[in-house]
Every structure is written in C-alpha cells, then in structure tokens.
Amino acid sequence: MIRILIIKEIQRGIISLRFMLTMVLTLLVFIASATLFIKKYEQRQLDYQEQMLKNSANLKENAQKLNQLARSDQYLIRPPGLTELLAAGAEKHLPDRIEFNAFWFGGYENIDRLNYKLNPFIDLDWVFIVGLVLSFAALVLTFDRISGERESGTLRLQCSYSVSRLKMMIAKYLACLSLLFFALLIGLTVNLTIVSIGLKTSIIAMHSLQILISLFIFLIYLSFFVLVGLFISSQVKKSATSLAISLLIWTVAVIFLPGGGSMLGQKIQKIPSSYEYNRIRRAAWDDIWKNAPVPQARGYWNGRDFPYLAERVELVNRLDASNDKYRELRFRELQSQVQMARNLTRLSPYTLLRYAIESIVSTGLDAFVRFYEQGKLYRTIFKQFIEQKDEQDPDSYHQICSWHPEAYSDKPVPFEDIPKFTEPRQSLGPVIQRATLDLTLLFGFNLLGAILAFGAFIRYDVR
C-alpha cells in the first residue's frame, strides 16, 4: 500500500513545474560551484606552493647559523583542501598561515578576522547549495502536499479508502525526500565530474567516505525541511497560507538565526579590542622590565661579556613569555567568543549543517584551531631542537634568548636535521565525534518535526 502512495507522490512531484525548476536551479548552482572552486583552488594551490618554496629557501639560508635559525621567522602554511568544495568553512577569512620563531608564537595573519561576523553565505559550496537552495526547494515541494490536496478534494477521496493517515504521511515524506535526493545526486554528480576533469584529480577517490557521510547529513537536513513543510501543510486549510508560513520559517531558520545568534553572541560575551589588548600586554611587559629582580640586567648590552648575562637572558625570556601569554589569551578570548556565538546559532538547522560538514571535511574554524594547536606543538619541538643543537656546541654560552644571538651557538645546522611540520591526518573516529553535537541536534530537529507533522496530520480535518 505504502509503495502505491509513494509512487503516486513521486509521479505528482516529477511532473510538477516546481520540481523542474528545482532541478534546473540545482544543476546551475552546482555547475557554478564547481567552476568557481576550480579557479579558486588552482590559485590557492599556486600560492601555497610558492609560499612553501619561499619558506624552505628561507629555512635553508638561516640554517647556516643556529642563532639565526632560532630567530628567523617561519611560516606554517595551511594547504588548500579539496574538501573545501563541500564546506569552504570561510577559509578565505581565516588565517592561512602561522608566523613564529623559537621565541614567539602567534603572529598569525588576519587574527582580527577570526570572528563570527563573517557572512555565512560567501562561498558557493555544497553546504550553501543544500542549506539554502535545496532547503527552500524542500518547502516549495511540500507546502501544499496536504493543504493543496484538501483544497482540490483529492485528500477527501483518498481518506475514504482503507489507508491509514500514518502511511499517507510516510509516503509524502519519503516521496518528497526522494525527489530532493534525486536533484541533489544529479547536481553532485555533475559538480564532481566538472571538478575532477578541471583539476585532473578524482575527489571521489580521495574523499569518498567524507562525501558519503556528508550526503547522509544533507539528507537529514533536508528531511527536517520536508517535515516542516508537511507540518505547516497539515496545520492550515489553504496552501497559500502554508506557502507564506513556510517561507517565513525558512527565512528565520536559514537567514536570520545564523546572523542573529552571532550578533547576540557579540553582545553577551564582550572582549577587549585589539587596542585594549595591546595596551594590557604592553603594561605587563613594562611591569616585568621595571621590576627586574636584578636591575643591572637592564643595563647597556655590550656583547657576550655583559656582566649580568644570565640575568639579562632570563629577563628577556620572561618578557617573551609574557608576550606569548597575552597573545594566547587574546586568541582564547576570541575563540571563546566565537564558540559562544556558534552555540547560539545552533538554533538554526543551517548552522548545524555547516558545522557538521565542516567537522567531517576538516575545514572552518575548528580545523584552524587544530592547526594552531599543532603549530604550537611544532614550535615547542623546534625550540627543543635549537636547545639540543646549542648544547652540542662547546663554544656556546648556552644562553638562548631572542635579543642576543651572541649568547648562544652560531654553528651551522644540517637542513635535513631541522624538524619539519606536518599536520596529522584526521582519523574518522574523532571527526565523527566532533560532528556528534551538531548531528544529534539535527536528529533532534527531525524528531520534533516528525512528531509535529505526523501529529498534525492525524488530527487534520480533511473535509
């Protein structure tokens, strides 16, 4: 019985003008997405390779002297990822490299852009297409599934048959979801084909699991909007009213909530401005300098024979540590503010979709924070390497600090010995774990939608 109902609902959908339009629009945006991505990815790949070469040359040059290597600024560079096609994660607004040396860390570029005020609709990635275009299509395909049938009288005739309303609703739900899935699948296939040909690399072979999981999440997301459409359609008698309410809910859920939550987050959790932060950092620095335990350590530096060499180096290291502490504090405050805003925007299913997919494909803010942590770890390893090499030099005073290279080794270091930064590959377990909260909430939204939609239709007056 349910098969008959599903086939009928699918037939109705397929021959409708709105489904044709959905197909055309979906195809167009997926083609546009692929074309834009190829262009952007190629450019970023070129930039990345250029920067890596520069970085490598810089490191080689500075390896001539250990004290020069320790003080030379290095860049940890984030490679562009193919999975940004799925969820760009506002990567172009996040720092793409971290600047550091053995004595300081956190000169990452664009730190002030690390905030939640970024427009969420900036990249034509899969999340954007499914999140906006297909969720809208979901409502357009469902808003009159019940109220429209009531208006036309077909619901009354159907209900005169020995068919439970539960089955009717399941059929409508599955049929609408199938139509959307079909449109999505066609769009994705075209998109992946264009990208694979354009970049001469098979993204499917490289990221098949991530793509499959993402597809599943897209379905959960679209399922919610199908249920919302059916619920509204079961609540009103006129399909025009249903359409108006559906559009209103879509606008709130997909447009206003992500932006509104961010603004609210900014109001709730205020953090000092960059200027204020620099003032505090500078005051701490001055305090350490003025209150040096051995005041003579602040004296004029006249080279390795400075009488308070050890005290001077300790003072400089304390100053650097203080700077590091405040940079870290600033980063954590920004991160915490963003997290607060992200939690507030989790009221929106669109935001949940974005966060879940970003977790799965390792893009976005969380991925950047992991990169930052890995960078910090690497910097510690790098500093230990400098210390070890310095210890091996019998001519060194072994007083390592950022101000006075004369105080430690200036011997050359083999380039091959310098530890290299590699970002560890994410295994599936932690990836799923990170997406758990957003997936659970999406499931919760679905459960609520199902209860409301089925409940409303059971009580619906078909007359």
């Binding site: 008959i4 009928k8 005739l157 005169s160 048959y161 020995s162 007359r463």
Partner: protein, 238 residues
C-alpha cells in the same frame, strides 16, 4: 449495508449538526437524503467516512462501527463527492490506476479500465487525457468509475448530480440504477428531488439535523413528494 444508530454530531462551536439520526440502507437499495443546506446530509456522510467523530451513536458499514475500526469499515464503502476532484495533472489512466490499487485492485489491465469506463459512458480516448481537461460531467463519470472499480458493497454519494447538465445527470442516474441492481447499498444526499423521485427506493427529508420524514417508494409515489419537500423547506426558511 449502511446503518446509522442514534447518530449525533455537535460541533465545538455548539452547533448541533445531526440529532439522533437512525437509518438503514440495505443491499440493492438507493436511499436519498433530501434537505436544505445545513440540514445535516453531508455531516452524515462525513460520519460514515470517519472524517469526523460522532458525539453520540454509531455509524456502521456492513456491521462495522466506523469509529472503532475505520480502516476495516472503509474497505466496504465507495464515495463520490459533489465535485469529483482527482489529480488534474494525471491522466484518467493514472488516476484510475492509483485509486484502483488503493482499493486493492492491483492487477487490472487497460482493457479492464476501458470496460469500466464504457459502463459509465466515457470514451476510450479519455483514457490518456489529463484530468484538468475533463468537463465536470466527465469527472463525475470518472469518479463513479473509480467507485465501480473499488467494487465496494456500499456507495456514498454527496450531491453527485449537482452542476451536471440534464443529459449527463440522466446518464448518471442510469449508472446508479445499474449499481443498485447489482446489489449495492447506495446512500445519496441531494437537493434534487426529481432525481430522487426517479431512482430512490426510500427517501428521507432532513431538517436541522433531524430526519423529519421517511417514505418508501410506494408511499412517496402516491404522495406529492415535491409539495411535502417544499413545505419542509419553507418551514426551514421561516
């Protein structure tokens, strides 16, 4: 058999739409319910189809209480509404196919559909026509075809001839007579006293939710049914 026992319906706004209606439509019988708008005719049909729950009493189809077991009861009833509305973007074939399967007739062939369509006077050319291009008469005929295909022993008709031209209405009446002769129990709600007089085995007049008059064919043929009906209607207006 269709049976209403002390059937009542009071809506949430307090309106008593049906007041202890008791009637029985037997196999091979056409029972016409006459009455003005708001007399309770459609409410009676809605109760038989379990579209609404009764406040009191029971509606039974083949002895099954529709409130207690609606899905089982609906197996034994077909329904044709005032304006048969099918899926406009579907062809007649698609509509017939869907409702036939919904009624459990899964193996019908094109010839079977043709045969049923011919019975109600629909041409085979209409088979692949989209419903939105059908006239009202054609839609009513397709509606009755769907009811015939379901082959339920009971048929509920809600103003089925309303809006039909005289020829189409006459054809429709002929079809109903044929169905009655096959042993179907038919309950028809209508304003059309002339059609009722033509085909009914029994006639009931409803007013303000109550069955105020009940006549067998023999009785109403001897009386001036039109006058009785009009008297009730005038009383209703007054």
């Amino acid at each position: 058999m269709l049976q209403a026992v002390d059937l009542s319906k009071r809506y949430e706004d307090g309106l008593l739409a049906l007041d202890h209606l008791s009637l029985e439509v037997k196999e091979g019988e056409i029972f016409c319910l006459l009455g003005a708008n708001g007399a309770g005719k459609t409410t009676t049909i809605n109760l038989f189809l379990n579209f609404i729950d009764p406040t009191d009493g029971t509606a039974q189809i083949n002895g099954i209480d529709v409130t207690k077991d609606p899905l089982e009861a609906k197996k034994y009833v077909s329904y044709v509404s005032e304006n048969v509305m099918l899926y406009g973007n579907f062809t007649a074939r698609q509509n017939l196919d869907f409702f036939a399967k919904l009624g459990g007739k899964k193996n019908l062939t094109k010839d079977d559909y043709y045969m049923h369509m011919r019975k109600v006077g629909l041409q085979e050319e209409a088979f692949e026509m989209k419903l939105k291009n059908f006239s009202k008469g054609m839609r009513q005929k397709l509606g009755i075809t769907i009811a015939i295909i379901k082959d339920a022993p009971n048929i509920l008709l809600d103003e089925p001839t309303s809006g039909l031209d005289p020829k189409a209405a006459a054809e429709f009446v002929k079809i109903l007579k044929g169905l009655r002769d096959q042993g179907k129990a038919i309950l028809m709600c209508t304003h059309d006293i002339f059609r009722a007089k033509d085909i009914a085995n029994r006639v009931g007049i409803m007013k303000e939710g109550r069955l105020v008059m009940l006549r067998t064919r023999e009785e109403f043929m001897e009386e001036d049914l039109e006058k009785i009906y009009l008297d009730y209607m005038q009383e209703a207006v007054v």
